[in-house]
């Protein structure tokens, strides 16, 4: 017989218990986060959804609040980054002469690309990140990057090698 796609009864019970005991606490924890007061209930729902999709983690949970808040924390950071990125993007577009502004559809597609790049460079140090962005997005050569970042050429080479390796390793993982 094929395994049932439905949620196992004991998982269902665990989630229900988790929700009953900690949902209000999580909600108030989220509401205290200055930036996201108005999105607290969305993030709380997403957190429990995350839990439902990971029954094996729920089964061994010792400190449910610690686990829930760390999941919520990750979700908050993702939302925050996406919002920040979008705001910065719209602001940058707003500064352009009208003729240079891409059409709405293009704008959205390019925003997705930027978000993909942002996620990809996550974990790189600020200088490595900036060196790589200047090279790949602005087309600057290494010498110009060195001048702009006020570092040596060999530092730029090191930064670039690090970023190139990082991108490669990420594509291997996914």
């Amino acid at each position: 017989m094929l395994p049932s796609p439905a949620i196992a009864p004991e998982t269902r019970e665990r989630i229900a218990g988790l929700y009953r005991d900690h949902h209000l606490w999580l909600l108030s924890w989220l509401q205290r986060r200055h930036h996201f007061g108005d999105q607290a209930s969305d993030v709380a729902q997403d957190t429990f959804l995350h839990a439902i999709l990971r029954p094996q983690q729920i089964a061994g949970l010792r400190q449910p609040r610690a686990w829930l808040s760390s999941v919520a924390r990750g979700l908050l950071i993702d939302r925050y980054r996406r919002q920040k990125l979008e705001a910065a993007y719209l602001q940058a577009l707003a500064q352009l002469p009208e003729a240079e502004v891409p059409c709405a559809e293009r704008q959205l597609m390019l925003l997705e690309t930027l978000m993909q790049i942002d996620a990809m460079l996550d974990g790189l140090g600020p200088k490595v990140r900036m060196a790589f962005l200047l090279s790949r997005l602005e087309g600057l050569n290494y010498q110009d990057i060195a001048v702009r970042l006020e570092v040596s050429l060999s530092s730029v080479e090191k930064y670039m090698a690090k970023a190139i390796r990082h991108c490669y390793q990420l594509t291997l993982e996914t």
Partner: protein
């Protein structure tokens, strides 16, 4: 499995780009790629891993980089105040403490300033791009400066509990003072306007900072700044007042208030300037530099500006 081929491929790509595709390097790189099919496969995989970048270059110059330049997960964690205090909550420690009466995180975006009053009547003003956590309880008043700068004014006749601010470098305690703390990269700057503030640094006797003084606290400990190059608390009034301040230092202070990037050519980095600059109009502040110093501005977009010799 050690990946020697990957190391070589990265090495070649960097060499090639660094030489700006010089013919001799290009030829040597091509010879390496053709020497073994595994070389070529790895080479192609490296290029493919960066395939999303050319897409973004469709945007007009400057847009992609100004959008991405200030991002990063660490910034998000700091700005959200989701550091240690957040985890403390997660463990339930704070939640179970009956004495916890108030808990809040405050932060500002670029160009924004925020003033708020604490439950005991003390006021805190946050500068652009700043974040603090605040905790008041029956024993202490504690503020954690996570990013940027904050001006704190203790309430008159407040309870005897000390008010304590923590930065990445040391703790600052007072019962009655008005002072500005700035978290710079690797050090903290303390400017006292009224009263006095005790500077507590791990492993050292505490120092007392008095009204009118500016202190710099770095890894080595607290140090009185004999001749400050700018007024450390004037930002509260929306101005930057400098006295023989080096141009790159001035640019750093203005950059805090701006979206985008301000750079300073090394050739003009030794210039010094004295004056008053409005923080709410940094474009204008930058333009006034060109009136008094032998410099000019190069604008790539309105978000990208570089100061170069005139």
């Amino acid at each position: 499995m050690t990946d020697k081929v990957l190391d070589q491929a990265i090495d070649w790509l960097v060499k090639l780009e660094s030489s700006q595709h010089a013919p001799s390097v290009s030829a040597a790189c091509m010879a390496w790629r053709q020497a073994d099919p595994r070389h070529e496969a790895r080479w192609q995989a490296l290029l493919e891993a960066q395939a999303c970048f050319p897409l973004a270059r469709e945007l007009p110059p400057g847009v992609a980089i100004t959008t991405l330049g200030n991002q990063g997960r660490r910034t998000a964690i700091k700005a959200l105040g989701l550091g240690l205090l957040g985890l403390g909550m997660a463990g339930g420690a704070l939640q179970q403490s009956p004495w916890r009466t108030s808990f809040a995180d405050y932060s500002t975006n670029t160009g924004e300033r925020l003033r708020f009053v604490l439950a005991d009547g003390s006021t805190v003003q946050l500068d652009s791009r700043s974040a603090v956590d605040v905790r008041l309880d029956s024993r202490e008043r504690r503020i954690t400066l996570r990013e940027g700068q904050a001006y704190v004014q203790t309430a008159l006749g407040a309870l005897q509990r000390p008010l304590c601010v923590t930065t990445a470098q040391g703790r600052y305690e007072t019962t009655d003072a008005a002072f500005s703390l700035c978290q710079e990269n690797g050090y903290t700057r303390l400017t006292v306007d009224q009263g006095s503030v005790a500077v507590l640094f791990p492993g050292q006797a505490s120092a007392q900072a008095h009204a009118g003084q500016q202190w710099r606290i770095d890894r080595a400990g607290p140090q009185l700044v004999e001749r400050p190059t700018f007024e450390g608390s004037a930002w509260v009034r929306g101005v930057l007042i400098t006295q023989d301040m080096l141009l790159p230092d001035l640019v750093e202070q203005l950059a805090r208030q701006r979206v985008g990037w301000v750079g300073c050519d090394p050739a003009v980095a030794g210039l010094k300037i004295s004056g008053v600059f409005q923080l709410d109009d940094t474009d204008n502040a930058l333009r006034t530099l060109t009136h008094t110093l032998p410099v000019r501005l190069v604008w790539r977009t309105s978000l990208w500006v570089r100061i170069v010799p005139a």
